[in-house]
Subunit: 256 residues, 2 copies
Amino acid sequence: MLEKGTADSIGRHGNAAGPAGRKRRTRKMNEITSLERRPEGGPGPIRRTALHDTLVSHLRDMIIEGDLAPGTRLHEGQLGEQLGVSRTPLREAIKYLASEGLVELVPSRGAVVKRFSAKDVKDMLTVLQALEELAGKLACDAASDTGIAEVRALHDEMVHRYRAGDRMQYYKLNQQIHTAIVQLSGNAALADMHGVLQTRLKRIRFIGHEGPEKWAAAVAEHEEMIAALEARDKAKLSEVLGRHLVNAWERVRDSV
Amino acid sequence: MLEKGTADSIGRHGNAAGPAGRKRRTRKMNEITSLERRPEGGPGPIRRTALHDTLVSHLRDMIIEGDLAPGTRLHEGQLGEQLGVSRTPLREAIKYLASEGLVELVPSRGAVVKRFSAKDVKDMLTVLQALEELAGKLACDAASDTGIAEVRALHDEMVHRYRAGDRMQYYKLNQQIHTAIVQLSGNAALADMHGVLQTRLKRIRFIGHEGPEKWAAAVAEHEEMIAALEARDKAKLSEVLGRHLVNAWERVRDSV
DNA sequence: ACAGAAAATGCTGCATACAGAATACAAAAG
DNA sequence: CTTTTGTATTCTGTATGCAGCATTTTCTGT
């Protein structure tokens, strides 16, 4: 990007002509203020993330973290300027998020951040419960020992954060563990559906800060979970995951 | 706009002069060949469907019905011309479908229709099974009598089509019934997830034409389903729905 | 002073223009 | 004849321009 703008301005557009000339683009071009095109973290060919992906996850984060509150209208011009991109890719990202269920498209008046009622949340948790119960059963059969060990590692780390009282890291590891267990099932469709719901719920969980007792209970449930997984005890794991989510509702119900 | 193109061509691009000049736009503008902006069928204010929605469902259909085979690259220019829309809304629709999982975005080279392996299909059916079992349980509690009656009506109609040997209508009613039962559960998130999977599987089912015996078996299962629903027998309905999908795999496994 | 109409404003929706990446093609070297 | 490298073409990615719809503001008549 860097010099592109310059190169651009040099030899182009006999057009010109623009009476008074078109105001020279003060544009920040691909400045992508806070948007990094991160250089791939995992295996595979080093390929820069496309702007689309970057925008999508950035907007997602803004919604989850409350920068864009439910009901907020996504103003294309303003938001685009703020992020340093033009309306076109921004609109594409918004459409993507709409399909994901995070925003709602209103004809002739753009997109608004979707607002979830308490019932919506409860319903999502109900489905999430069914999915995780299934994942638990499948994972006990399909998971590799190393896969299980990795989840155990995440769990230990999480407990560590819990003892340290680091809510944010705890929260993130918590999500990672659930996601990891679903991954262990080896069922891509299941992982997809789980991911969508997990994302929609992230905002809620992000807010809901349960008290010490409830928090402790959640950690205890996680202990059971890991134990059941290591024992490859289908019934037990499924049961604990289910119970965990029933309790999750208790923990967040006041937040919504 | 009409003449804008002309105005455009006049004073621009010393550039080039493109020898032979750019071929004059034969564009059909908003002709929207086969794409109707239909004037709303149901209740509520008469509001024309946005082009976005139209494009999305049109593309979906093209994929489901095989006009766009798995692995096919979605050529923006060509496809846009074919449909009579410019690339911008088309790209937005494609992004939407990508989020829905019907197409895959490949950086710098556009979108291709996603190809599902046999395992993918089996995995999807596994999840679908879990979701429908849940839906069955919920529906027995939540459904209204009229709601159940409507499903019964669909079912009777379907049996009618079955006897007439009308596969296409049978297929459509079949899908509608499953969707309707999920709706009866009153759980929007569940309906969402179910819808996504149902859509992804539509292409497969569209192809899979089982023989007479299997077809008969499927109808028999539907009979059981409706009976269980009318009796509001949670366990039974859930069980039948689950069995129905296990068998569904048998019916389509050779098609994938 | 107030209701309603008309004009003005702002924003979305769609189209088009431009630049860079990927691929296909062709010529040259081995 | 095969491989390689340079070049042309094609297509995607992004920006910009234009028109219509929504909404708000300002007039005008009672």
